[in-house]
């Protein structure tokens, strides 16, 4: 009963925040609402027995995405005015509200029907539970991500790489040398704080990575946490945008894909199945590479710069 109450409150909060995100006059407010929305979502994931998602949502959905949105908002504001909707004539509501309502209704109906479906025997999920042992990890999500559906994960890394490549391409090609202005604010005690936060974020990341095998966590969550540390460093001016991507960064960016694919190819070359990782050690190895790549990509995306360098 309490659970239901929590669920209800959570749901109402989520819906309200979503509405605010869309409707608030100030863009900054909208972004902030969205960040809170992400946090509430991660609670919802937890309530829905998806702790991996809760972690990921908190770190990526709310954290990194929020930071990205904020920094973008700030950069857009460079000419001094807050882009808001209210100053502009509204788009035709009579078109959009019915559209949205119809879509929502559709989801409700179909979801309702789906909820009442008889259980289908032998779904992919059932099979995943059954054959988890073959992977060598006990967390079924990690098992799916790096075992049964490792290919998806690999392609997803390619998506991340593509996003970074794309961002770099549009950001730098036509204004070489023009880098985003400093966004950091020098505050007393920041140095001390950072000297604590960054090692912690690394530690958390490493923990999440190793915990991913059996408990909630994994490369994505860990990577996001690590990236958060990087973002902090950037925000506080410990790191700054560089006009070129350094060699190390380049290696780091592709490390995940490269290690993952080469591992898969190696297995295939030695007579196994493509992408069938040979045991837990391989999973951890791959996850480490993924984590580094994810973290680096996210930080670079946040910086909207080709590379980073230590503040001189």
């Amino acid at each position: 009963m309490i659970g239901l109450a929590i669920d209800s409150v959570l749901a109402l909060g989520i819906v309200w925040l979503a509405l605010q995100t869309v409707r608030s006059v100030s863009m900054l407010q909208a972004v902030l609402m969205f960040i809170v929305f992400g946090l509430l979502m991660s609670l919802a994931w937890a309530r829905l027995h998806a702790p991996d998602l809760a972690l990921a949502e908190a770190a990526i959905g709310a954290g990194i995405t929020g930071a990205l949105l904020l920094v973008t908002w700030r950069r857009l504001q460079a000419d001094g005015h807050d882009p808001v909707d209210s100053e502009l004539p509204a788009q035709s509501k009579w078109l959009t509200i019915p559209t949205a309502c119809a879509a929502a209704l559709l989801i409700v109906i179909v979801g309702w029907i789906a909820l009442q479906l008889p259980a289908v025997p032998g779904t992919a999920g059932d099979l995943a539970w059954q054959r988890l042992g073959e992977i060598g990890v006990s967390n079924p999500v990690t098992g799916v991500l790096l075992g049964f559906r490792a290919y998806d994960t690999l392609m997803e890394m390619a998506v991340l790489l593509a996003a970074w490549l794309g961002a770099r391409a549009v950001a730098t090609t036509y204004r070489p040398g023009a880098l985003p202005g400093p966004v950091h604010v020098e505050v007393p005690l920041v140095g001390a704080l950072l000297s604590l936060v960054v090692p912690i974020s690394i530690l958390v990341a490493v923990y999440l990575l190793q915990a991913g095998g059996s408990a909630p966590g994994g490369a994505f969550q860990g990577g996001a946490v690590l990236a958060a540390g990087g973002v902090l460093l950037f925000l506080t001016g410990r790191l700054e945008a560089a006009p070129r991507t350094s060699g190390l960064e380049r290696v780091g960016l592709i490390l995940g894909i490269a290690v993952f694919s080469l591992m898969g190819l190696m297995v295939m070359a030695t007579g196994g199945h493509m992408l069938a990782l040979p045991g837990a050690w391989a999973i951890y190895l791959v996850e480490t590479a993924l984590l580094l790549s994810i973290a680096l990509s996210l930080v670079l995306l946040f910086a909207a710069a080709p590379g980073l360098r230590r503040m001189s």
Binding site: Q91, S92, L95, T96, P98, T99, A102, A103, L106
Partner: protein, 538 residues
């Protein structure tokens, strides 16, 4: 010899194209001489496989008198023309020789295609002769001639198509045999009859003749009147075998037409003052008589056999005399009294004065008509025509004296006159048809002349002048030809898309479609559509 007869004019015509006629001037009159040899020879035949669909040429009973006429009249006219026109006139000589080529082929051809081929070439080339002096009158006359000639030719070709469909390129001589059933002839016969009638100046298709002859140079008129018109006759003889019209009424109609033409033309001639116009009408008149002869010869095979030589003699006589008269008109100022007397010879001959070739021809003709089981009045009226002829020629002589030309004297017409006196007799003798004149025949020849003389005297005394009448609507045809052709139903092309018009509106629509909310609406609509369709199916 046949090769020479056919190729010499053609080669000379080609030479003219290159301006060589001055160097070859001595050959120009000689171009038509080889045909004389063909005429004199009994029979000749040559197959030209390589030409068109394969042609056969040669001389036979029907064309030999024509060939003789051609050879004599044409050579002398050419001789005259060398003086009258001069060898420098390239275009004249070109058309002259081309016409000669055409008519040679027409006369010599022994099959349908060859005949038509020559006929068409001749017909078109003669246009150049008529148009020689490029005057407005000449152009008008030329246009009328050309239109009529073309109409005639398409009629002829239509008729030939019908025959050709059945017999291919048939030998002309075999047509009667091929046709077998006389009434199997039908439309083709009428086409051919009318088609050749154009050239024969048969009423009412004669209108080009009085227009063309006065404007053409005298030598050209001479051969037009003397020779070319006879090609039509040959066409009839060749392509309209006897009995083709089955019963007698058509024959009778033809005879009536011919006689009407003979009298009408003579009367029309009396209203003209220009000597060449008078002569032209005389030709029309004479051709009417020839039509009568032809009609009589069409009654049956028998009449054809009987009258064919007569027609030949008539043609020979008329052609030579008429050519002589035309050539003489070119020498009008030089006509002294004696020369005028000499000139009276061909005129009298045409009028049928005894001892002349005219009396020979007319005598034979009347004899033939009488035997052809035609109504009696035919012969009478035929004889009466001599009166009008005589009147007309008398009118000519008086006009000639009053209409001095500007040319020099030339002996060609004199020679022709003499030939006209002698050759038909010789020809008749060769055929065994010449007979010494009897009293009856003499009287037959004399009384029309006397009657005509009386009328002429009376007329002169009375001082009455015939009204100038334009005659049958010669110029109407010309006017029709100048009418704007039927206003064509020009297909409007405005329906073709020059530029797609709704463009701007569409572009605006496209801009609207590109807006995100509109995309959303589209999505919703499609979603609903798809959903409804699918749900309807469940």
């Amino acid at each position: 010899m046949i090769q020479l007869a056919l190729s010499l004019p053609l080669l000379l015509a080609l030479a003219c194209l290159f301006g060589l006629q001055q160097r070859l001037r001595w050959l120009l009159p000689a171009a038509s001489l080889p045909v004389i040899a063909l005429a004199v020879l009994q029979e000749s035949r040559l197959e030209l496989d390589w030409l068109l669909f394969g042609l056969t040429v040669g001389g036979d009973a029907a064309n030999r008198p024509l060939l003789l006429l051609l050879g004599l009249a044409w050579s002398l006219a050419a001789w005259h023309a060398l003086d009258y026109i001069g060898e420098r006139q390239r275009s004249f000589w070109f058309f002259w020789l081309l016409t000669l080529s055409g008519i040679s082929l027409t006369f010599l051809a022994q099959d349908a295609v060859g005949f038509y081929c020559g006929y068409a070439v001749m017909g078109l080339a003669a246009y150049g002769l008529i148009l020689h002096n490029r005057s407005d009158d000449a152009r008008r006359a030329g246009r009328v001639y050309l239109i009529l000639a073309l109409v005639g030719e398409v009629l002829i070709i239509s008729g030939l198509f019908q025959l050709g469909a059945r017999f291919g390129n048939f030998p002309l001589a075999d047509l009667g045999m091929l046709l077998g059933e006389p009434d199997g002839f039908g439309l083709a016969g009428w086409c051919l009859l009318v088609g050749f009638a154009v050239k024969m100046g048969t009423l009412p298709l004669h209108i080009w003749l009085p227009l063309a002859h006065p404007v053409a140079p005298a030598p050209a008129s001479a051969i037009l009147s003397g020779v070319i018109v006879k090609a039509g006759l040959l066409g009839w003889l060749r392509l309209l075998p006897p009995e083709m019209f089955g019963a007698s009424p058509p024959v009778l109609a033809l005879i009536l037409l011919g006689l009407t033409g003979a009298f009408y033309a003579a009367l029309m001639g009396l209203t003209r003052s220009e000597p060449k116009a008078v002569l032209a009408w005389s030709t029309v008149s004479q051709l009417g008589l020839i039509l009568v002869l032809f009609a009589a010869a069409s009654v049956s095979e028998l009449e054809r056999a009987l009258l064919l030589p007569v027609i030949g003699i008539w043609v020979l006589h008329h052609g030579l005399n008429k050519a002589a008269l035309f050539l003489a008109t070119a020498c009008a100022p030089t006509l002294t009294r004696w020369r005028l007397l000499l000139l009276a010879l061909p005129a009298l001959s045409i009028a049928g004065v005894p001892l002349t070739s005219g009396s020979l021809a007319k005598g034979l003709a009347k004899e033939g008509i009488t035997q052809a089981s035609l109504p009696d009045w035919t012969v009478t009226v035929f004889g009466l025509s001599s009166v009008t002829t005589a009147l007309l020629l008398w009118h000519l002589l008086t006009r000639l004296r009053q209409n001095p030309g500007d040319a020099r004297a030339h002996p060609a017409w004199v020679i022709l006159t003499l030939l006209a006196l002698v050759v038909p007799w010789l020809w008749a003798a060769q055929l065994g048809l010449a007979s010494s004149p009897t009293l009856a025949s003499t009287w037959d020849g004399i009384w029309p002349l006397l009657l005509a003389g009386a009328i002429a005297l009376a007329w002169q005394r009375s001082g009455w002048r015939l009204p100038q009448w334009a005659g049958l609507p010669a110029f109407t045809l010309e006017r029709v030809s100048r009418l704007k052709a039927v206003r064509p139903l020009a297909f409007s092309q405005s329906w073709l898309p020059r530029q797609v018009q709704p463009g701007p509106a569409l572009l605006r629509l496209e801009r609207q479609l590109a807006r995100v909310p509109v995309v959303g609406l589209g999505l919703l609509a499609l979603l609903l559509g798809l959903g409804l369709i699918l749900i309807a199916g469940t």
